[in-house]
């Protein structure tokens, strides 16, 4: 058994991861752009703020002590270890202090070309005293350096994100793939004849588990039906061997024997053939009921009316066998069901009660409610069946020693069971009752639709 291994990147998991990675990349790009713009603006604002503070100090100095104090402030500022700041004090067109040449006396925020390429100067110009122009600014390379660092960080983030997405996608796909492969393997195993193969369930309750559960349940159902079919064929083969052999022997004897017994032998042969056909029909009926198709034909059924119908049907038979047949209804109930099949179910139970008990036995058909569920019971006060035999009673073709002389083929209760199952009902031997009783407990009726 081999099936082409799906390539990793052809999997749904990988496709989803790729989409996710793309979305991630786009969001990193958008976020980076915004961060970059905000950072630049903040840094520029900061430079301008410092410059304004410098100019304010110079203005203060001039007011209190004159031009020399302004020069003093500039000297102090320039003496600071960070040499990226630029200052200028200028009267008319002559630079008087600072580290910049004389320039146009622009006030407010001023951007100057730097001394080296890529190094612009951003600052503020103002007149600190009458005719005395001053400028304070900074090299913008620090802004650019910050921006550069941010871009590098974002780039790493981007690469890491994509890597994680790809790796994660591959891992997810691989685990997904491993599980879908397991499913496919189980399916192939079943196709190859291993009906016991099932899809492994991890127990995490995720969507794949739920799918696996649903498929496994379906497989169980199919396996159950197949097992049924297999059992039916086995049973038929097994149970038919005896009557068919007897039929054959009888015919053979008739062929060789004298003429007088001929008609009798043919009569017996036809009877035996009918018996074989009846067994066939009963088994096929069970298989049909277990197939569940008849649920489509369910209709509303009044159980009390059904019991009265059954009583009227069987009372003459029961009386002829010196049994009594009574109906006891404590609470009426309506169910959804198949009338013909429920008649068969009840007939099987009633016929058992009539055929397998001594004369004088009382049979009661009762309808009650147990926990809101309609319960039909067919009970008799006969000798009963030992508790250890109860479970066997519902087995196909099981016949009690005592009942082998009665007509039937051991399919009555299996048929009843199949019919009960079809109706979602439970069928049980009533425990502890005197005599013998079988109860059919129907499901609670759903609120009327």
């Amino acid at each position: 058994m081999s099936f082409a291994r799906i390539r990793l990147w052809k999997t749904e998991g990988f496709r989803l991861s790729a989409i996710y990675a793309g979305a991630f990349a786009l969001s990193v790009l958008a976020m980076g752009t915004v961060v970059l713009l905000i950072t630049e603006q903040t840094l520029r604002d900061q430079v301008i703020q410092y410059s304004r503070a410098d100019l304010a100090a110079m203005k203060d100095g001039y007011r209190t002590e004159g031009e020399d104090e302004v020069r003093e402030v500039i000297q102090q500022r320039m003496a600071l270890p960070d040499a990226s700041d630029y200052f200028l004090m200028q009267r008319d067109k002559t630079a008087m202090a600072g580290n910049l040449p004389a320039m146009a006396q622009r006030t407010g925020v001023v951007s100057l070309p730097g001394l080296q390429p890529g190094h612009d100067i951003l600052g503020v110009g103002a007149f600190v005293g009458p005719g005395l122009y001053a400028f304070s600014g900074s090299d913008t390379f620090r802004v650019h350096a910050s921006e550069h660092r941010i871009i590098v960080a974002l780039l790493w983030l981007f690469i890491a994100g994509i890597a994680i997405a790809v790796l994660g996608g591959a891992l997810v796909s691989r685990s997904f793939l491993r599980r879908t492969d397991a499913m496919a393997r189980a399916c192939h195993a079943i196709m190859d004849g291993d009906m016991k193969a099932r899809i492994p369930v991890r127990g995490s309750g995720d969507e794949l588990d739920r799918l696996a559960d649903a498929i496994n349940t379906m497989l169980d159902r199919i396996a159950g039906l197949m097992e049924n079919l297999r059992q039916v064929s086995n049973d038929i083969a097994h149970d038919l061997r005896t009557p068919v052999s007897q039929l054959r022997q009888g015919l053979e004897r008739a062929k060789d024997g004298p003429g007088s017994g001929y008609a009798q032998a043919l009569e017996t042969a036809i009877e035996r053939t009918d018996g074989i056909l009846a067994l066939f029909a009963a088994m096929l009926r069970i298989a049909e009921i277990e197939g569940g198709k008849r649920r489509a034909a369910f209709a509303n059924l009044d159980l009390a009316a059904l019991l009265h119908h059954m009583r009227e049907l069987f009372a003459p038979v029961a009386e002829a066998a010196d049994h009594s047949l009574a109906v006891d209804i404590t609470q009426d109930a309506e169910i959804r069901g198949d009338r013909a099949l429920l008649i068969q179910l009840l007939s099987n139970l009633i016929e058992n009660a009539i055929l397998h008990t001594p004369s004088g036995t009382h049979i009661v058909l009762s309808l009650t409610q147990i926990d809101g569920r309609p319960a039909l019971t067919v009970a008799d006060d006969g000798p009963g069946v030992p508790a250890e035999e109860h479970a066997k009673l519902f087995q196909r073709l099981y016949r009690r020693e005592a009942s082998r002389t009665h007509p039937g083929h051991g399919l009555g209760l299996s048929t009843a069971q199949a019919i009960a199952d079809l109706h979602g009902a439970r069928i049980d031997v009533v425990p502890g009752a005197p005599g013998f009783g079988v109860r059919v407990l129907f499901p609670a009726r759903k609120s009327p639709d």
Partner: protein
């Protein structure tokens, strides 16, 4: 009666034709659905006996087609499928009765006779045989002017016998039509009910109306 048999298995067909001919019926036999439909359309048969599985056109489609075209010739379905569904489907498709193969020949004969009667006109409100009469509306029965007390199922049994008066009804026909039992019961339901009905309908009156035909069924007749 002139009958049309549509059956693809030559052995079964031969057996049926031979047996029906022995009872005075003229049987025309066709071995596929297409020819069967063409022959059935002539409409000069008293009844059709149609196998469910046929080459060309299956039996169910054939009957549906015939009914859709307005042909009312009674149809008896023959089939090896024993399912209740098949029976329901067959009857809903327009068949008048349904018989599962293999069957006793007496069963086939009885059912063919029964369906050919059904073709006649309006639904009566009273059924009568000799001095026995039932009122289908008031659900009452009288014999020789005297009322007979019947339980509902006994009434249905008598009604079925009267509707088929003079014709043989088999045990299976009674089980299906009177009690809706579509399986073979292990107790002698039919015999017991018939004997009770007989005690009400026949006992104390001059002639017996209900006759038992051993191994075949029952017949209601006056002579």
């Amino acid at each position: 009666m002139k009958l049309l048999l549509i059956e693809d298995d030559p052995e079964t067909a031969g057996h049926i034709v031979h047996a029906l001919a022995g009872h005075g019926h003229a049987v025309e036999s066709v071995d596929n659905g297409t020819d069967g439909l063409a022959r059935a359309r002539c409409g000069d048969h008293a009844a059709l006996i149609v196998d469910r599985m046929l080459p060309g056109m299956d039996g169910l489609s054939l009957v549906r087609q015939l009914r859709a075209e307005g042909h009312q010739t009674p149809v008896l379905f023959l089939t090896t499928m024993s399912g209740l569904d098949d029976r329901v489907e067959g009857l809903e498709g327009g068949a008048d009765d349904y018989l599962v193969k293999p069957f006793a020949f007496a069963e086939l004969l009885a059912r063919v006779n029964a369906i050919t009667r059904r073709a006649d006109g309006a639904e009566p409100t009273r059924l009568r045989l000799a001095d026995l009469e039932i009122d289908l509306i008031r659900r009452t029965a009288t014999r020789d002017g005297k009322a007979i007390e019947l339980q509902p199922q006994e009434f249905r049994l008598l009604e079925f016998l009267l509707r088929n008066a003079g014709r043989v009804v088999t045990r299976t026909m009674l089980l299906e039509n009177v009690w809706d039992l579509h399986f073979d019961p292990r107790t002698n339901i039919v015999e017991t009910h018939l004997s009770r009905l007989r005690s009400k309908v026949d006992r104390g009156f001059g002639t017996e109306l209900i006759h038992t035909l051993r191994g075949v069924g029952y017949v209601l007749r006056a002579d």
